[in-house]
Amino acid sequence: MQAMKVRRAGRAVLAACAAAAMTAALAQTSAVDEIAKYRAALQDGNPAELWEARGEDLWKAPRGPKNVSFVTCDLGQGPGVVKGTYAQLPRYFADADRVMDLETRLVYCMVTQQGYTQPDAMKGPFGGPGNKSDIEALVAYVTSQSRGVKMNVPLAHPKEKEAFALGEKMFVYRGGTHDFSCATCHAEDGKRIRLQDLPNLMTVAGAQKAYTTWPAYRVSQGELRTFQWRLNDCFRQQRFPELIFTSDASIALTMYLARNANGAAFDAPAIKR
């Protein structure tokens, strides 16, 4: 009851609040403009290129106990085809009877063709100082070969439909100490966290802008980060436990977001804060 009264009182001063916010907004405009300049200055010379080059070498080199390269790996368009494949992932793979994103497919090829054990293939999905991730480099290379290609993720197979539907539900799942879901930050237009723009991933435009600019070189970390990393780190900040690399939930969410991005030209590896 008391609370309700306070709420009403709060509304009465709303207009005054808006006026105050406008004064503060003036200073804000210049801050946002300057951040835009900062981002523009970084575009020329993206260290992601270093990962792409390393990834290309890794893709072509014989590897693993069986000493074979990825040239026999089928990313969906036939063995060894790289160009344009990322724009059509995740997708259902009959040989594995599973919907797979790029990272999951790379691990699959490492195990089935190159002879790695599953745990070895899953090792080091995310690099850090002094330990470079082969997966991140491979992803950088493969994704770079879809630059400019229109996103065209299929939703034909029942398992593709299922993954999409599950991803859609997971997106709004609230949990953890802070009650956060993906939608807490990514379901409204024009919002920011600190000075970082938050894409509204529930709209086509928002999903397109966000999904087509991952992977990205993160200047805050000095690393190239993949979409698997993006999801893992969002959940970390949501105060959830740790999302398992290539888990079903990670693929379902990727499917949901990638499919929503259909029609937009893929434009990564990018560079971000």
Binding site: G176, L195, L243, A249, A252
Partner: protein, 208 residues
């Protein structure tokens, strides 16, 4: 003849009901399956155990009604449930130290699996709100709180509202985006008082 007609009519009604049921059922099924797949897709890390995926009543209802209009009765139920959870200060004092409040508002760490469990836990208010005009790096998920008490008055009523809202935002607005800082034991009572001071102390830069 007449009997037949009735029979068919009934069957029709039942069929429609079943179709309706089937869609509703499948939506619930997908939600259930999504929750189950989520739970098998995470591993405990540091202070973040798998129990963090278990939803309380508020989280469950807010997930269920995400993307839909929240029915009035459900909203009222959630607000009532959460209002009851607010622990008002035993000493009746609202104001802590606004300078500490500013530090808590800036601090983004706490409760993440990557955080030291003994390390600082903040409110990270600037992630979503504008507060002091000096900090240009603020988010806009929540409303601007600049001049919070200057506009509302430096009254007990304003302070009680700020305290209660920080303790449990869902008591005021069901399925709020704002964490329930007191209820979920993210911040201590003293930290919340420090934040109330940041918002409602006349000396706080928020009110300049």
């Amino acid at each position: 003849m007449r009997k037949h007609f009735l029979l068919w009519g009934c069957a029709g009604v039942i069929a429609v009901a079943m179709v309706g049921c089937a869609t509703a059922q499948s939506d619930v099924d997908v939600s259930r399956q999504a929750a189950a797949v989520l739970k098998s897709s995470f591993k405990a890390n540091g202070q973040a155990g798998l129990d963090r995926l278990d939803q309380d009543e508020t989280q469950r209802l807010c997930t269920q009604y995400a993307n839909k209009a929240l029915p009035k009765d459900v909203a009222e139920m959630i607000e009532k449930l959460n209002t009851a959870s607010i622990k008002w200060p035993a000493d009746g004092k609202w104001l802590g130290d606004w300078k500490n409040g500013e530090r808590i508002a800036q601090e983004g760490r706490g409760k993440q699996f990557s955080d030291d469990p003994k390390g600082p836990v903040g409110g990270n208010c600037y992630a979503c709100h504008q507060l002091t005009p000096q900090e240009v790096s603020y988010g806009t998920i929540g409303p601007s709180l600049y001049q919070f008490a200057k506009l509302r008055g430096y009254t007990d009523e304003t302070r009680k509202y700020a305290y209660g809202k920080i303790w449990n935002a869902d008591a005021y607005s069901a399925c709020s985006n704002m964490p329930r800082f007191g209820h979920s034991q993210i911040l201590t009572e003293q930290q919340i008082k420090d934040l109330v001071a940041l918002l409602t102390d006349p000396d706080s830069p928020v009110n300049k």
